[in-house]
Symmetry: C2
Subunit: 169 residues, 2 copies
DNA sequence: GACATGGCGTTATAATGTTACATTCGTTGT
DNA sequence: ACAACGAATGTAACATTATAACGCCATGTC
């Protein structure tokens, strides 16, 4: 879940960067499984978007994805958004509201789980962590106000362990 | 030439609907105090934006604010964004990331406090609640990953007590 | 084959947010 | 009073993010 180069042991497809590449095979398998379960195709465009996000290991803007995927044929933003919609349904990709950016995630979240996204202001890397304490706190405030929560958004902006140690690297 | 802010505010206040408007006087006082403390002016535009948000009591998009504030002179979005920037610094206005909307808030949040925004999907109303449990949970996940949090974003999408009781009303 | 469904490719547009710059306003120094 | 300066404004243009509309094509079903 915490995507760190040391932890991504299956870095067979790891890019040359020092970035936090995620397990591309695992995330692709999950997307394929979701597609199969819904009887919808895991199409080429969906694979390409997911592969790019998995290789990058960092959040990317939709237009940035379109740019990177363009070759002779220009990939339009709307095509990326459609692929992202599928990938988010499949649970393979999340959207960072604090950056309007999308990133691949190789961890399968339980349906009731509350996940915290920690976004590094300096290097842009994202760490995820599920927190029962946060989940309990959210249920608590909702209960006291009679609010029926459907979907939580929890993000932390700050500095990751690497960047906090080496400022402005 | 110079618009009287108090008359403007009370006029808008009169148009507040059944949904709960916030304490316009209190929030305006806080904005004025912040401005004084920073030796910057609490200008007419800033007063107008804050008064509108306070009277509305609900989140509004920046362009919607610009629209409502326009009379003979068209108020441009950039002017609204500039006013919102000041008001957010003053702690009188918050931005809802889940809706890209802005709303006035009449309680003063402590600097270390973690505030949860509960946004009703049906009526759009926002409730705020500070939660020590959530704050503790966030500190916990940050600590285990070595992350240094600076700013938390916590929002719940769901149904408020009113709308949950009377669906789609 | 006829046909319904869904994804793709393309164009256009909506919605949100920012940059640039000249002007005006308020304060400050003289 | 008046010049000078920084901040806030007014205005236009631009940038970014996201969606709508529509025809084409591939796939599966009858």
């Amino acid at each position: 879940m915490v995507r760190d180069p040391d932890q991504s042991a299956s870095g067979l497809h790891a890019e040359a960067h020092h970035h936090h590449a995620i397990d591309a095979d695992a995330v692709q398998s999950r997307a394929r499984a979701y597609a199969t379960s819904k009887s919808i195709p895991f199409t080429s465009m969906r694979q390409r978007v997911l592969a790019l996000l998995a290789a990058s290991g960092k959040p990317m803007a939709a237009y940035e994805i379109a740019e990177k995927l363009s070759d002779a044929r220009r990939v339009q933003a709307v095509q990326v958004y459609r692929a992202l919609e599928f990938l988010q349904e499949a649970g393979c990709v999340h959207r960072l509201v604090s950056r309007s950016a999308y990133f691949a995630c190789d961890h399968l979240h339980g349906s009731g789980e509350t996940v915290v996204f920690m976004v590094c202001s300096q290097c842009g890397a994202v760490q995820e962590a599920a927190s029962d304490v946060v989940a309990r706190g959210l249920r608590g405030v909702a209960k006291t106000t009679g609010f029926k929560p459907r979907h939580p958004i929890v993000e932390l902006e700050g500095d990751c362990a690497n960047c906090a140690g080496e400022p402005a690297g």
